[in-house]
Symmetry: C2
Subunit: 472 residues, 2 copies
């Protein structure tokens, strides 16, 4: 049995294990094992991310090991990472001449190569991405998929452009891409421009996607950085312009880690376990035959016909023929978030129909076998997604408080809510005292009735909307 989702931390810890996403017993802090079911979910979610990026990015793979001098080259950048880089110092029994870092992110591995790749304006824009493991020596409390020492599935994209404006345009493109990705997963997000002191080390500015977890803390689930020509100057990435001059290139990078899976699990799940959108569910449909003496053959015959039909539509379907009681089967497949369940008992077998229920709803209804079609399943999948989205948005809204004073901000954060408050640039740093400042809201979510500009709650000057919360 799972703890109630109300006790979110315990629930999360348990659902990860009981739904067989990960085994958390690997004997090193912050390292976990992806189990087959979890790994399949990961593959399906990342397949979508690949599909989106493949539209105009190319996939590459750079080495995991970065020599110390390369990693250290960009001084702002290394300051941001030096406390959390893992160092390889020995090969076999020998000490290495040059220490090698396990990539915490790949700017410093990639950009010396970009310097070699880029000669002329015709080589730009360059847009590549990779999905790789990255490493952080986390000293804080670690948590599967959220705070890790080996992030196993970091999607990092890196682009190079002619001008600052083109890089800025790419930042907008990346934000659009990430919106599409999270809408596909029915995960609500808030988009902030991180404050100066919290931007990516070496970036001009950082745009971040945050989602609100059930416990009211925000989880950063994607970031997009405009690097301007900061790294280009460090790594000497220049191109020849159409009129023969040489100019530094402008860059962006943007990443999503397996926190997208953490949000998927946390936002949609309930007391019974996972609830997965149809498109990414490792098992999309389960068929449960209800066997009564004398009816076994007829019930199994219809169950198998249904299985074959659904397989014919290319769905991931399981026919649960195990010996357990139906209740035990319901329990197992609910835990794993299977979106659609079909039950077939004697009555159904006789009338050539099936009982249908959806993972997110209590009600059951009957459909004639012959009415089940690919179109019908697709419609159910779409309706499920819509319901998940509505529910997730309601939850998110219930955890947001619009505040008019710093006291209200303090109260909201204290009571595990996300505070939105107007401040001016000068006063932004001051509210850091009341919670983590997520930054200036970059665009208004469709589902939130709020203006992006207002009066600074501290000095009364012209302010912009800022998020303040406890964060993961």
């Amino acid at each position: 049995m799972l703890p109630p989702k109300e006790n979110f931390s315990e629930w999360y810890h348990e659902v990860i294990q009981q739904a067989e996403i990960m085994d958390i017993r690997y004997p090193v802090k912050g390292l976990y094992v992806w189990l087959p079911f979890g790994f399949k979910l990961r593959q399906l979610v990342y397949a979508k991310l690949r599909e989106l990026l493949d539209r105009d990015h190319q996939e590459v793979y750079f080495p995991t090991l970065i020599p110390e001098d390369m990693l250290m080259k960009e001084s702002e950048h290394i300051k941001g990472f030096e406390d959390e880089v893992y160092w390889v110092t020995h090969g076999g029994l020998e000490q290495l001449d040059v220490k090698l870092a396990l990539r915490p992110t790949s700017e410093t591995a990639m950009y010396p190569m970009f310097k070699l790749w880029i000669r002329s304006h015709a080589d730009l824009p360059l847009k590549v991405y990779q999905i790789v493991n990255v490493f952080r020596y986390e000293t804080k409390h670690t948590r599967p998929l959220i705070r890790l020492r080996e992030v196993t599935s970091f999607k990092e994209a890196h682009t190079v452009h002619r001008t600052y404006e083109e890089a800025e345009e790419q930042v907008k493109e990346a934000v659009k891409l990430y919106k599409e990705f999270y809408e596909f997963l029915a995960i609500p997000y808030l988009i902030f421009r991180r404050p100066e002191w919290d931007k990516f080390p070496g970036a001009d500015y950082t745009i971040a996607f945050d989602t609100i977890m059930p416990d009211g803390r925000t989880l950063q689930i994607g970031t997009v950085h405009n690097l301007a020509d900061n790294f280009a100057k460090t790594f000497d990435i220049k191109y020849e312009t159409p009129n023969g001059d040489h100019s530094y290139a402008y860059q962006t990078c943007y990443g999503i880690s397996e926190r997208c899976i953490a949000s998927l699990i946390s936002i949609h799940g309930d007391d019974l376990g996972l609830i997965l959108p149809f498109e990414v569910a490792p098992v999309q449909i389960v068929i449960i035959p209800i066997l009564y003496k004398g009816w076994e053959e007829k019930v199994l015959e219809l169950s198998k016909r249904l299985y074959d039909k659904l397989k014919g539509y290319d769905y991931r379907v399981t026919l649960d023929e195990s010996d357990e009681r139906p209740g035990a089967k319901y329990y197992r497949w609910e835990l794993k978030g299977v979106p659609i369940r079909f039950e077939i008992g004697p009555k159904e077998a006789e009338k050539n129909e099936v009982v249908v229920s959806f993972r997110d709803e209590k009600k059951k209804f009957v459909v004639a076998f012959d009415e089940i079609s690919k179109e019908l399943i697709e419609r159910w999948a779409k309706e499920l997604k819509e319901r998940l989205k509505v529910r997730a948005v309601e939850n998110a809204k219930s955890k947001i408080v619009i505040c008019n004073s710093v006291d209200e901000v303090a109260g909201a954060v204290e009571s595990k809510r996300v505070a939105l408050v107007y401040v001016c640039e000068d006063c932004e740093r001051e509210i850091e005292n009341y919670g983590s400042v997520l930054g200036k809201m970059e665009e208004k979510p469709e589902w939130l009735d709020v203006n992006l500009e207002g009066i600074c709650a501290i000095c009364g000057g012209k302010g912009y909307l800022v998020g303040v919360a406890k964060t993961y």
Copy 2:
């Protein structure tokens, strides 16, 4: 321009770069960058490997970092790896309490977890695999895809069984799987049981797949190990038998690395570049419009119709509309191993037909546009594969010498050939003086007329067929 393939080492070095498989300029020995074209090839080849394994294995992902005590637990195993393990000793500026190894292979990461997963006979067999990066501190000469410090694409499968016999059965299954994989790639292989002194550290025995490279050296492209209960005893992997006893489990593991890509490039390529089987070619078909003044529109119209038709069949097709001369286009796409080329000039546009040529043949022929169908392309793909296979087998045969004496063995190896010779168990070690002993031939290749048993060339006793060669 490529060096002739005759100068294999230079040819390989150049083709990897010019065909845009990898960038070899990353500033650490033995680490390379997968370029988009190479990465796509890798994805396509590994998709096949996944398809084969997914039949009855489950994909997982274990951590990259293995604590020293876990890695050291199996004494035979660690002896085989201790000279080439990379050690992480520092996190940030702190020294770690326990050194962490970068996995050289994952037995010691996985098996402590298997101990937790396996309780009863009902949990067996267990069959999992992962495709991951592994690390070896190579002190020898490194070479892209062949001898690396980061093997980026190691497919390792691990299975657990009730008995030695079941493990042995699984070894045979794995050998069958690997045969299917290499037949799909049209790569000829020899299967040997490695001599005792060259088996996988900790294994009962090792079966290996070797292919013969153009320079007569063999390349190990897959291994299958019967681990018996050696690791089970070390890691205490026991199961409860049907009658309530507790018994150690029996294990196998088998792996294929990106050497499969190295063999694909090396075996099939020619002086002009890559030659790729249709199924794994990143670009399967290229269409080259031959533009003459006044005919541009008609030629491009037919080219685009052909492009749409082939896209409709879901092929990876490129219409090369660049401004270059046709010769330059031929050169580029030949280098990249595109299996099928269509040319369309004024004559073809007028007659609604296309000129066809295959990457592995000089001849061109004409086909009516309307005759081009999915069935026709599939047939061409199959015929291409068959031709590649015949050519590769001929090459392999020409590099094998059946020897009757150790002098002949020495001569064969000296002249860059693979020697096959009968020896008995007692004399096997002795021929190590004349080349690397590949081991006892495990099964006769279809294409080689040879008996597996004969008279020992050294002592005249009862012998078995052994391979001796220079190896990569």
